[in-house]
Every structure is written in structure tokens, then in C-alpha cells.
């Protein structure tokens, strides 16, 4: 069920979502993406390079944030632009619980050709982890 351009306005909120992240999530993402940087799975290595603990792949966080947009529009092909800045790491402790990435988003601008700009906010442990997180989406 597609979102129609005439149904949204500046300020329209997309349904917010929370995404759990455990060490197992990161190992699975490492395998699927081919990014085996040890800061994402090796605590000893992460500490040695000055990180507080193992951290999530930035691209994993970017992928989770995108789901708030693609779940809203239905057809992922509606996303015509998507960009983020990686401002803070998502720290994933090995405590059986892990971390949570909370994502909210709202329509920030109405553009030509039934497109809208969606601004996203992603945070973990109370800190914003992405900056300038924006998607341009073509609605029907």
C-alpha cells in the first residue's frame, strides 16, 4: 500500500522503530557484507585501538535506519537518495543484551515530482549515532 504524496505534509512522522543489535548480529552482518574489520567482533582489538568496546558497522546502522523509510513506503525502489554521517559508534557489549538503535523520521520538505525529503534521527544509549541522515523518497 503506497504512501500518496497528497497524504503527507512537512512534519508527518513515519512510524518509529527500534532495532536490537547483539554480537551475533554483528557477526552475521560481517559475513553477509564481507566487512570483517575486527573492531566489529573482537573486543580485545577494539579496546587496543581506543574504542570503549566492540562497535556496530556504520553501514549496519545505516541499513537499519533505512528500514523506517522502506517499511513506510513499501517499495524500497521509492528511495532515490539516501545519505548519513557517522557521528558516534553504536557500542555493543557482550552482556547477552547488546544495544538498541532507535530510529525516528519525519517528512522535512515537499519536493518536485511527488518527492519528499525525510529526515531521520538514529540514537543508541541516548546518543545520536547518525548525523545529516536524510532520504529523498518518491511517493505516488
Amino acid at each position: 500500500m503506497a504512501v500518496r504524496f497528497d497524504e503527507v505534509q512537512v512534519g508527518t512522522e513515519l512510524p518509529a522503530q527500534s532495532f536490537p543489535v547483539t554480537r551475533a548480529t554483528l557477526v552475521q552482518y560481517a559475513g553477509a557484507s564481507g566487512d570483517f574489520n575486527p573492531i566489529h567482533w573482537n573486543e580485545k582489538f577494539a579496546l587496543e585501538v581506543g574504542l570503549p568496546d566492540v562497535i556496530a558497522h556504520g553501514m549496519f546502522t545505516m541499513a537499519e535506519a533505512a528500514r523506517v523509510v522502506t517499511d513506510w513506503v513499501g517499495d524500497p525502489a521509492a528511495v532515490v537518495e539516501y545519505g548519513v554521517r557517522f557521528t558516534k559508534p553504536v557500542v555493543v557489549p557482550n552482556d547477552g543484551v547488546g544495544a538498541t538503535i532507535e530510529v525516528t523520521a519525519k517528512v522535512a520538505a515537499l519536493l518536485e515530482d511527488n518527492r519528499v525529503r525525510v529526515d531521520l534521527v538514529a540514537s543508541s544509549a541516548g546518543q545520536k549515532v547518525l548525523g545529516m541522515a536524510r532520504a529523498v523518497v518518491r511517493l505516488s
Binding site: F19, T25, G34, A63, A66, D75, G83, F86
Partner: protein, 153 residues
């Protein structure tokens, strides 16, 4: 030593084609926990007007990152990859990546800046299909942190 700004505008040869498999898309979608049927069910993708299953929006990063190895490992550029972090990432799509695509990536260095002693390198990857049609542009900023005061440089 700061990176040589004369590398701005340098373009590297296109990569060998990467063939996008349905099962690779399924594996990637599972890894990000995304159950959107357009990624796994060809009929659902067709109902949306796609010829086959499509890939999630961040999937093309795998290709553009591999292609960027040409820049990262260019001995003439001399980037110290052990100091590099991913600063930001942008995608601009002509169409989604889909199963069966044979994609090649042409990377260029768009910018080299020095900010607070850090080298900031902007690498653009143009992803094209086998017929040479544009699929997606991936722009990543790599930040090479300055050598710290521990006397490593």
C-alpha cells in the same frame, strides 16, 4: 604528511563485473533483519514492477567499497588505512540493484581536504549494469585521523 591534492579528479579503471545473486540478496536482507518481500520473493517484487528481487538500499556499498580498494591501496596516494574511519555515506539511485545484475564500479577521487590535521578523502563510485546504464552512485567520505601526539609520526 597530508595527501597530495593533485589526486583530486583521478579516476580508476572500472571493476570486473559483480553478478548479483538472489541468494546473496536474501543473505544480506536477513543480516539486517529486513523482511521486506521485495528482497526475497520474486513474485512480490514483480507486483511492484521489478523484473526480479531487488536489493536493500545499502547493498551497493559492498561493491563500491571493494572498488574503493583501488584508491585506499594506491601506493602513490599513500593513505594510511589503519587510521581511516568511514565519515559519511551517500547513495543516489537511478534504480534499485536487482538479482541478475552484472555491475561494475568506476571510482574517482572527488575531493581531498585537510581538516584539523585529518585527511578527508571523498571517493565516488559510479555503479553501472552490463549495458552501461547507471544504477547508483555511491559517495563515501573516508577520514584518515591525524597521527596522535603519542609520537607515532
Amino acid at each position: 604528511m597530508p595527501l597530495d591534492p593533485s589526486f583530486i579528479g583521478r579516476t580508476y579503471p572500472p571493476t570486473e563485473p559483480y553478478e548479483v545473486g538472489r541468494e546473496k540478496i536474501r543473505e544480506f536482507a536477513a543480516a539486517i533483519g529486513d523482511a521486506n518481500p521485495a528482497y526475497t520473493d520474486a513474485e512480490a517484487a514483480k507486483a511492484l514492477g521489478h523484473p526480479d528481487v531487488i536489493a536493500p538500499p545499502t547493498f551497493p556499498f559492498m561493491l563500491s567499497f571493494r572498488a574503493a580498494a583501488q584508491v585506499v591501496n594506491d601506493p602513490e596516494l599513500g593513505l594510511d588505512y589503519s587510521r581511516v574511519v568511514h565519515g559519511d555515506q551517500k547513495f543516489a539511485y537511478t534504480r534499485p540493484v536487482r538479482a541478475g545484475d552484472r555491475l561494475s564500479v568506476t571510482v574517482s577521487i572527488d575531493a581531498i581536504k585537510s581538516l584539523a590535521g585529518n585527511d578527508v578523502l571523498t571517493v565516488r563510485g559510479e555503479v553501472e549494469d552490463a549495458s552501461g546504464e547507471h544504477v547508483v552512485t555511491s559517495i563515501m567520505t573516508l577520514v584518515a585521523r591525524a597521527a596522535d601526539e603519542a609520537g607515532e609520526e
